[in-house]
Symmetry: D4
Subunit: 255 residues, 8 copies
């Protein structure tokens, strides 16, 4: 926060237009931050294996910057999902160390200390039905990579041309976890699950129109898959699929 902004803020406080707590929050005082606004769960990496991520939609750039700074102070990675380009640009102006992944809509603010290399045993395969599903698939890919997993991408291999996915079956068979991203009827999840022995995490997307009902058709298709060995995350939840896949792969790496 630059001097002009601080001066304006203090004037608003003096004029009764802003409470002291709100001002402290914006000024980054961490005790007020903890008490009034957000309990940043600094214990989480130890407990669940993954740092907290920030859902960017519906948060202001200022809120996000405040939380990123707080994570940075705890020497943790900061990851923001579902960010739009304008807010990303604004955050990068303030925190130049951030990396911005446009198509995935993910911003990463690396922790100050370099993380030790992680011994990972397996690879995560991400399979995407159509080009419109790519933002969700890329979100999964970027998050999985940020957590230290090697990722293989299989784009635009939907079932309307079934030969496209058939050719990749041997490669998919060797992944430690497979994420399948598809909208519309979501049939790709069933086909892939029937081809391999790896655990499959299905991500329905909101791609479609009419009776796709914002992703419900794909969600139901995946939940009702005639092939067993697949489980499902929320519509468009590339992030959640990546965390699940990371947990699976991390188990293998815990040797």
């Amino acid at each position: 926060m630059n001097p002009t902004d601080i001066q304006a803020l203090l004037n608003r406080v003096r004029g009764g237009l802003m409470s002291v707590d709100e001002a402290m929050l914006l000024l980054g005082d961490s005790s007020a931050f903890e008490r009034d606004f957000a309990h940043v769960d600094t214990d989480r990496p130890r407990r669940t294996g993954q740092p907290e991520a920030i859902f960017g939609e519906g948060k202001t750039a200022e809120d996000i910057i405040a939380i990123l700074r707080r994570l940075h102070q705890s020497d943790q990675d900061g990851l923001v999902t579902r960010l739009d380009t304008d807010k990303a640009a604004h955050i990068q102006d303030v925190l130049p160390g951030c990396e911005w992944h446009q198509r995935a809509r993910v911003l990463r603010y690396p922790a100050p200390s370099p993380r030790p290399d992680r011994a990972v045993r397996g690879r995560i395969a991400i399979v995407c039905a159509g080009t419109s599903d790519l933002p969700v698939a890329e979100e999964a890919a970027v998050i999985a990579e940020a957590y230290g997993n090697p990722v293989d991408r299989y784009w635009d291999v939907g079932v309307s041309g079934i030969h496209r996915i058939m050719g990749h079956a041997p490669a998919l068979q060797s992944a430690s976890a497979i994420i399948v991203v598809a909208g519309m009827e979501g049939a790709l999840a069933s086909v892939v699950t029937g081809l391999v022995s790896a655990p499959v995490i299905a991500v329905p997307t909101s791609i479609g129109y009419g009776a796709s009902f914002g992703g419900i058709s794909a969600l139901l298709g995946m939940l009702n898959s005639c092939a067993a060995g697949v489980s499902v995350v929320n519509i468009d939840n590339g992030f959640g699929a990546a965390v699940m896949a990371d947990r699976v792969n991390r188990r293998m790496g815990d040797t």
Copy 2:
């Protein structure tokens, strides 16, 4: 209606337990029948190409027998769908000329005059995902055959083992219309439609549990197919799919 039944009926009328109109209906007086109960659409075969069929669910055996007799008098085939075994047995007792198709739950009462052979150009292929979907697929098959179409059956070829349907692609390619019957996520419709150039009629079934919601998941999956060239009929509506396929095939036969 045999003399004992008639006597019982008249006693019920005299005792005020049955109205005159209901009695006339049961006795088969066609004018009362027409006026009070059912406008049998005897013009339909000429107009739409298919005789009227009777939806057996929720009708009494007596109602069905009355309508079958009425169609027989007009020298039309009588077809009853969604019939249970008990009612079928009762109807066959009264009208011994009926044919009963157990698995399809379809009963047929052939018209008195033999129908002229029909010049049909093409074959109808019926593809069925799982063994639990068979009653619906058989309903479609029996109706299509009753309308004079040659039918090819492909049973238990769901997408969880994708190689099962792949091997049939050349044969399916030559059909004049393909009916795909599937429950759960209904993905088979998309896969078949992407493999062939024939028009595909998809029938979602109510097979499944939990979030399949009595066939909604399959219905939505088929409506949202990523492959174009498929249209959908109501859940479990094997009859409707057969009529649609017959209309397609009949066009080809109108040479």
Copy 3:
């Protein structure tokens, strides 16, 4: 892509603002295109009888141009549906050979080689309930024509004035396939199906308000039609109806 654009692109690559793969995609390098972004299904016309079409909604003009060029290189027709006026204008600026159908929101980029005349036996009738349903009906009409079918249009013949459609019954009877487009309660599909022997493809539209729920009322009405011989495509899916009708008609033309 003109030199200025390329220069700008390269500067963005050098500055780390664009990945090499994205740059290659925009530059039209087909191997990167195939690997990272879109498996254009160049085998589809041979397999299913129809070229792939591009769903324009949610794609950028740049993405669409890239795919159109790729199809053009394979000597295939390019069809884009659900395009808005601004993107269409931009695409026409870059690819002046495109035809733009405003009301249908369809853009066509003809293949370089003229297509051989197609021997088509029948006509496709398109029946539209109300003036608000016209964009969907026109989408069906333009696509069907693009595939080489003669099309007859019957506009604004909804059931609230039943005489309007009754007068067209003889003409409809002679079509090889009928597409019925209607919103609100979608009753027109049932009335038409009961009048003719041709196969009917019903397209529910999202026209309506309140309890029409974006087309669900019309969709359910059509799926539950009391007349058999009709099947249904997704809400507002004029394109899908045209492909289905083309498959029906093409069968007849395969003499």
Copy 4:
């Protein structure tokens, strides 16, 4: 209640198996009845023009008998809807003055004093799409007649054979109110409303299967009718339609 029953009841009270209030209720003591169980709205006929009717589903025969007796004591007609055959037989055994309408599932217990003839100006037409919808249509008809309205019945005139309803248009035009009863897609309501100037009351029925969802498809179809001049009651609510039509017709008779 016969002596044996009363004795058994008192024993249950003495044994603590039944509360005094429940016993008084069963014994028909009206003050307990009023206080603990049911506020019979004896003022309703004066206020709303129609006597209270009893929804028979889910009530025991004993409960119904108690309420019928209470109405009888107030010299009011008793009407019971949605009654099954067994309970009706039991009630008729206890209250022999009851009339039983089998198909309509309605039982009527006439008031002790004859009702004065009512000056009714108009007739109520009831139009029914299919034979399976008849119980609902008959419920409407029997209730409307019980309230003193002349009723004309038009049965089995669904839109799959549109000529059936077209021929009745002139007769329908002269009704003071029209009730349209239809299941499946409910399209008959739109067609009738477009043909006449009388107010139309639409009753969706639960007839159908699959995506008819127990009458939702017909309900939505009727609510979204493209023809204005129609309003809708609950699924299978023949009773409610009759009350609405009676209110309309009664206004005309209030000269």
Copy 5:
């Protein structure tokens, strides 16, 4: 259409940017209009008692003007519903004879010949729950008045302060039809129906938030009213309620 516009139009035709049919439509050639765009149902007033009304939402001002002119040529009233202020202003500029009802969002273009006074026997009462429901209630009121009915308005009398509606019971009792407009839980319809003997037409509105689901809660509440004598139109359909009430009232005036 002024000369400049016509010139521009012809240039677009010559340049291939507009089809001849579209041009004829815009130029108001009625035969093209009839054939290609809209079957204006000029017989409707005779058949159903009400002129056709134009649903303004989603139509361009130009489309509306064309239809209004066509009705005017047939000496019929033109009524447009669901119009926004900007389009209304534009239409009034072109057709200065129009009346604009802001709150009701209804525009009326009176027929050239004055309509004969109508002998109406009864009054229509319109009851509105909250101030946010007023646009729908006013739509009903303006349409009912446009059809020649005297209208009484009862605004802001929702059930959270039940005394507000109780005081109006005697006045409501004398109406020939009552329209009840309410959002949220829609309870006002039940209360009013229990108070009076007039037929009640309930209009659920989309007012509410959260689990009101755009009017579904009010719609279901009204369909499931514990009071009989009420029927329901679509969500926000003030127009439909007015047509229904007019049909009821007109019957009474047909003396």
Copy 6:
């Protein structure tokens, strides 16, 4: 468990038809019970103020008896809800100290030690719309009384005759909490909440048919009440409403 049963059980264990753990569970060994089947939360009364209650639906009489015995051993009251008559009779045979509330479908097994009298400040009023809602209302009443609250019952006061509830307003005003039980449209909750200043707990019931969707219409009506001061529990959840009301009333008694 009698000797014959035990012998049979042991034979099944020896024959491998039953696991040791299952046998121990049936034999009532509490350590196995705790480990394998049910963590009876004996700390709950201290923590939340109410003992645990047993949901009887879907549990066998044997399961229920086992849990009741376990609670009895901890000197706690046992309450079973949603019990049917047959299972209740069976449990009373085994545990004769149980009280059975037929209409409420609640069984109570009092703790061995008498509970100290509770100092309760206020009364709980329970208001019930129709006679069919009584089982839910009685469940709430019996549970509230079992927890030591005085209860006032107001039965059959639905809004279709609004005067019935209006007369009770002063009495309701003095309650410390009011439970409103209603099905169909659930409007009674709004009317009561607007009349009083006490907190209102609304219980939607599954009473209704057609578009009441098993209580959804009442649930939505109550959630969307235009009157503030009401909150809602699950459909038919008389038990939950009683616990909520007890918590409110207990606060007042904590002096």
Copy 7:
């Protein structure tokens, strides 16, 4: 309203562009206001204990100002909820005595006479799952404080880090009522209700995406809580929760 506005208004009246009633409404004439637009329920504070609040969404700033002035004239507090920043600023310009709570989106216009201090016995605790739920939680807090209740805030204590809420259990135990605000799956309500004996009022929020369906997942989660002692208000209805909590707390203060 300033002179320029009044002049413009009168010109519109003279030109027929505005009705006299609408003009009187805008001019603030209270009798017209009462008659035509809004029955302000000035008796409500006496009857229900809380003044009427104004739902700001969808109302113009002018409408809100008119109602606030009317309440002010009756010496009542004016509370506006769901207000956006722009309208709030405009209202503060016209009525400078207003207080604006930005995060809660609540504006308060205090009554002219100071309210007597209220004897309140208990405190209201408000527990909020995530930072995105804060606007709803703050709405509840500000309203509860405006009604004179002391409020304790517990922010960002969602169940993904269960230790955060566990530490607050003793403090929560002493509240007279607890409001739990949560989106997504809404699990926090179950956890809190199981920890304490105070009555819990749950507020589902529309926070979430995909299958959260605008708050339906949280709403259903709270309605189906496995812990008893919780009831639920509408999605995002912080205001309703505060009124319910105030009613509970007020009971305790009525000593």
Copy 8:
């Protein structure tokens, strides 16, 4: 099939009451079996790591026996899920080698050759919220064990008493995969996922009533979990969860 049955079968064939194909199917001729009824996917164990399982619901005992025999002939394990007690007893009579797991409703027919011991690295933990959810949890446990995984059971640890699950956190942390089974609001999945770093597979159950809608509330709660690291299978799909967990665990064992 015993001689009497075969004789009866042949008589039905001779009498035209059964087709030859159906007879062959019942006689167990494997070629007809393969062609007409069921493509048993004997390649599946090699491809996906798990043998095919038979969904018992809706299949006759005879169908199940035929498939079990077919698997036995291929030296594969046969697993039947969702079997009821009567059919299980019948199957055990015919195939005495079957094991029957009553609570899990799972029947297993071991392959003739003993399976080699499997090197499994990790354990699967199964956590179950309430006693009513046990059948689903046991299905998961029995299947996971049948596939060779060691399983730890944590029963009756729902969130209404949060301390029950908290004590198990360290043990859960060491599992290679955790299956969480819960009905009602399904909150247990969120709490567990926040406590551990293992991948969590959530199974919603249909336990609940009212607005739980047969498991939808739990399903939505789990899909919308505020904790990442969890994915979801279909309602009541204990089998699917076990297959997913086995795939995860098997990856770890592939050393």
